[in-house]
């Protein structure tokens, strides 16, 4: 089947800086794909390039098999929901939603029935005569969505459409956006810098940094098997401990850092490169994977011995800051009943499937910006 969107080698420069730097991306029809990354990573520029507002220097963009790289914006089979919604202030809700159909040359009666259909889809019946300034933020959001869906595009692009909403409304709209995507079967390409939002809504997440896609995959796969420490730190919280690989063999790896030694299954190397003894690497341990070891436990290959230097109660979980023997500080998140009585020297261990070893140039990618 032809992919709904296929981008090959796309590069877009502003001056000498590449905002999008050789991006390849293939999206099958009917998927909800999220471009996730910090501000300035090129995700919005990539979206604007697909819509035709940021002509690329090189590369191609195909939508449903058609090359639209050089097509003018108003003839592309894609529509955008803008971050500020960009509703036409002098047109009613019906005028806004019907605009795209009108441009396609639909008869007034057909436009009107499509508008009603869209209003029902976004659950705003009866508001067709209102003006944008008379609507709440959430309602404007829905109108913007309805307007973009009305002309029946192949691809719907959403540029951080929930960023302006407050937290509760945002959660609500996340569920609704996803439901509408399922119901319409449209391909959504969604841009956000909010990793929780990305995980909650997407079939696929493409994590972007510096104009490149660092990793793409289903949320759970990217979360569990990050390709590098940037992805590990951006998607969820991660403890990233620099280590050195000292032993390989029989499907296991041994890594050391000052004051600690860990042994883990070789398949937990998720960065793709095969480590050799002597390689520098980063050990990723998810805070929520750490659990206390029983006092009488045997030596554990992933045991973390540390001293509790801070304890924060967050209701459903307790966050501990642990200082490891080598001075590294890591974070552990435990259910309150398991954190009970923990203090001073503690002994915790993650599940082997919840750690990852990332072989890479340590230091370059270990920032935890989110």
């Amino acid at each position: 089947m032809t992919p709904a969107l296929e981008i090959r080698g796309l590069t877009k420069r502003f001056g000498s800086a590449a905002a999008v730097d050789g991006v390849d991306l293939k999206v099958a029809a009917g998927l909800f794909v999220t471009l996730l990354g910090p501000s300035g990573c090129g995700k919005s520029t990539l979206l604007r390039a697909v819509a035709g507002f940021a002509p690329p220097e090189s590369g191609t963009i195909h939508v449903a098999g058609r090359d639209i790289t050089r097509e003018v914006p108003h003839r592309r089979p894609v529509t955008i929901v803008f971050q500020d919604y960009a509703l036409f202030p002098h047109m009613t809700v019906a005028g806004n939603i019907g605009f795209g159909c009108e441009m396609k040359g639909l008869a007034p009666a057909a436009v009107a029935s499509r508008v009603e259909e869209m209003l029902a889809l976004v659950r705003l019946p009866g508001l067709s005569g209102r003006y944008p300034e008379q609507l709440s933020g959430g309602q404007r959001q829905r109108v913007a969505l309805a307007r973009a869906l009305a002309p029946d595009p192949v691809l719907l692009l959403l540029d951080e459409p929930l960023a302006a909403l407050d937290l509760q409304l945002r959660r609500e709209m996340q569920g609704e956006l996803k439901a509408i995507q399922r119901r319409t079967g449209k391909t959504f390409v969604f841009v956000t810098h909010d990793q929780e939002e990305a995980m909650a809504m997407s079939d696929l997440i493409a994590v972007m940094r510096n104009g490149r896609i660092e990793q793409i995959g289903p949320p759970e796969a990217v979360y569990r098997d990050p390709a590098n420490s940037f992805v590990a730190g951006f998607l969820g919280a991660a403890n990233l401990v620099p280590v050195e690989v000292v032993g390989t063999g029989s499907g296991m790896l041994t890594v050391v850092a000052e004051g600690l030694q860990w042994t883990l299954p070789a398949e937990r190397v998720t960065s793709g490169e095969k480590p050799e003894p002597g390689d520098a690497a980063v050990m990723m341990i998810r805070p929520e994977s750490l659990r206390p070891l029983p006092d009488d436990a045997q030596a554990h290959s992933l045991a973390v011995n540390g001293r509790v230097i801070d304890r924060t109660f967050l209701g459903g979980r307790v966050v501990l800051s642990l200082e490891l023997p080598g001075g590294q500080v890591i974070r552990a998140e435990l259910p309150p009943h398991e954190a009970e009585g923990l203090g001073g020297q503690v002994r915790l261990a993650p599940r082997a499937s919840e750690v990852a070893l990332l072989v890479e140039n340590v230091g370059s990618g270990s920032n935890k910006e989110r």
Partner: protein
């Protein structure tokens, strides 16, 4: 609100200073005498009704109205595209464009008038309606450009992009999005240009032919002394101008765009 009486008193004294002359003028139009003086012993409405029978005066007002309309249309025709052009430039070029467009507004009107009179002579345009209209447009275009520019900046780039994204070409974007968005500024600019042109004396005086515009005729009659008739016609013009000005002011400050 707390506060002393000194500031309010100062304010109202100044308001009185501003408006008392106008009140005196309006009242003087009712004086049953050929001379302007106080007190008013007998009252009459003959000066006000007399304006309607004053053929020269009506002709002058009609000429001023025509000049106002033509110069305003010309100002809009020049100012709207200029504003749109300035809006899409930035940096030094933008500063240069704005400076060159706004400069005429700061030129002494009398200097501008003399220069225009000479220039029109050079290009062979006779003094008259066309000449005055061109002259007035020179003075009005800066205001149109600034009003258009201010409004278009408030629009942001996404509205036009959204329309384009939904299938509108450049012409449709202009007609369906940009122009309606600019409408309040254009209506406001239209009314202000009308007022600017109607009240202008210097350019009309220098660029006019034998037919006087309203301010020029008023000036000519003043040289033969005041009579209550001048007070009456001035008051009538004042009332109309204030009404137009208030409407214009409302449009310029309009936030809402609904028709």
């Amino acid at each position: 609100m707390r506060g002393g009486w000194a500031l309010p008193l100062w304010f109202w004294l100044f308001v009185a200073y501003l408006f008392l002359p106008l009140v005196v003028m309006a009242l003087m139009g009712f004086r049953d005498s050929n001379f302007v003086a106080f007190p008013i012993q007998t009252w009459t409405s003959r000066w006000y009704t007399g304006v309607l029978a004053d053929g020269d005066m009506l002709a002058a007002i009609w000429l001023s109205a025509r000049v106002a309309l033509w110069s305003t249309l010309l100002s809009l025709a020049v100012g709207l595209p200029t504003g749109l052009l300035v809006a899409r430039t930035c940096g030094a070029l933008r500063a240069l464009l704005i400076a060159s467009v706004v400069l005429p507004a700061f030129l002494p009107v009398i200097v501008s008038s003399v220069a225009l009179r000479m220039y029109l002579g050079v290009i062979g345009l006779e003094p008259g309606v066309a000449a005055i209209s061109f002259g007035h447009a020179v003075g009005s275009v800066p205001f149109v450009v600034i009003m258009v520019l201010t409004r278009i900046e408030a629009m942001g780039p996404n509205l036009a992009d959204a329309a384009r994204n939904l299938g509108a070409d450049d012409l449709i974007v202009f007609a369906r999005i940009t122009l309606p968005f600019l409408a309040p500024a254009l209506i406001g600019a239209f009314l202000f240009c009308i007022l600017l042109s109607f009240e202008d004396f210097a350019r009309s005086f220098f660029l006019g032919g034998f037919e006087p515009t309203f301010p020029v005729l008023l000036f000519a009659r003043l040289r033969f002394g005041f009579d209550p008739g001048l007070a009456a016609v001035s008051t009538l013009v004042l009332v109309v101008s204030v009404a137009v000005g208030l409407v214009a002011e409302r449009y310029v400050r309009a936030k809402g765009l609904r028709p």
